[in-house]
């Protein structure tokens, strides 16, 4: 849950990158880390196995600067995508303000994407959160692969994007769509925050 302090005028939000194993969640964070100026980001923390598979989470804090007079910070997390690590995946979701679902665009990975989406819904429910109320953006990663291997963003929207949330085609390895996705989810999270604050 975001922390908003009207006295010190600070906002801190938690965004979680979710999705099946090897879909490119950590790659998204690496790209963001590489592009954001030193002064605006912290150390990227990765709790990974010896083969660089995410074991618990990756974490990257970024400082968005002043927005409407509020010092605004985002905490970006990834979850481990492998099915085996569901217990830790659920823990990382705790207190999330927004989720980026990173789907693997390869046609043969469609079942894994669907399974991971269902897993997201079930893990959010464990925290008492209805997925329909959570700010969510879809990213269709690996769109740089040969066309015969992947599904188009329109096909992936049909298959995965039941809520018609903002979706972004991406090639996270080269940074295509990474910034757009982060911007998309940031807007959703902060709009919800602004709407909530007027209640």
């Amino acid at each position: 849950m975001s922390l908003v302090n009207f006295t010190t005028r600070e906002i801190t939000c938690k965004i979680v990158y979710y999705g099946p194993g090897r879909s490119g969640k950590t790659t998204n964070l690496h790209y963001v880390y590489g592009r954001v100026p030193d002064a605006r980001r912290g150390r990227m923390v990765s709790l990974a196995t010896q083969t660089d598979r995410t074991l618990f989470f990756d974490f990257l804090p970024i400082d968005l600067g002043q927005i409407s007079g509020f010092a605004t910070r985002f905490q970006l997390y990834t979850v481990p995508g492998q099915v085996y690590y569901n217990a830790t995946r659920r823990l990382v979701l705790q207190g999330a303000d927004g989720v980026v679902f990173v789907a693997d665009s390869q046609a043969r990975q469609l079942d894994e994407n669907l399974e991971s989406l269902q897993n997201l819904q079930s893990n959010l429910l464990e925290h008492g959160v209805d997925v329909r109320t959570m700010p969510l953006a879809m990213q269709y990663n690996k769109q740089d692969l040969p066309r015969e291997l992947i599904l188009s963003p329109a096909d992936l929207d049909d298959a995965l994007n039941f809520r018609s949330v903002p979706s972004f085609a991406a090639d996270a390895l080269h940074g295509v769509g990474v910034f757009e996705t982060l911007k998309g989810i940031s807007e959703l999270v902060l709009k919800r925050l602004a709407a909530g604050s007027t209640a």
Binding site: N5, P61, D63, Y77, K183
Partner: protein
């Protein structure tokens, strides 16, 4: 040493604890890793990394406790060559909070930290407001400023 609180009611108990326990670094955070007060850190973003790791340790050991069908562990301590860390969760009217304490072994000890930690918890529980956080309106041009900030951040 700088002490800073996002929620003002946490400041006084934290300042007192850091002095009495001779702690090098102290963080008070939510169970999701959101920082509420800090002592001894110099850069906000490094604070967040420490908070994320501390909250993750508490969350994973709480799950271990569930597996063992026992209440959450009261506190966790680790002793290194020069520093020790003490990590514990506690309940307040604002929900569960987590404290992370780092101390130098040549000036403090886990016993000293534990001794004053109980007092810190009691003082935070007493100071914690029971009413909800007041709602206030964020600026109307919030969305435009957000977009500008993100464009600036990514150099676009």
């Amino acid at each position: 040493m700088t002490t800073r609180a996002v929620e003002a009611w946490t400041l006084q108990p934290l300042v007192k604890f850091a002095k009495e326990a001779e702690a090098r670094l102290v963080l008070v955070m939510t169970s999701a890793g959101q920082v509420m007060a800090q002592h001894g850190f110099s850069r906000a973003v490094e604070v967040m990394a420490a908070a994320a790791l501390g909250a993750a340790i508490i969350a994973s050991t709480a799950e271990m406790a569930k597996e063992l069908k026992q209440p959450p562990f009261a506190a966790l301590t680790h002793q290194g060559e020069r520093h020790g860390i003490f990590l514990a969760g506690f309940g307040t009217a604002r929900g569960m909070l987590v404290a992370l304490v780092v101390y130098d072994l040549d000036v403090s000890s886990v016993g000293l930290v534990q001794l004053f930690f109980e007092q810190l918890v009691a003082e935070l529980q007493a100071a914690c407001p029971t009413e909800g956080v007041p709602k206030q309106v964020l600026a109307a041009d919030f969305e435009r400023e957000l977009s500008d900030s993100l464009n600036t951040l990514f150099g676009r």
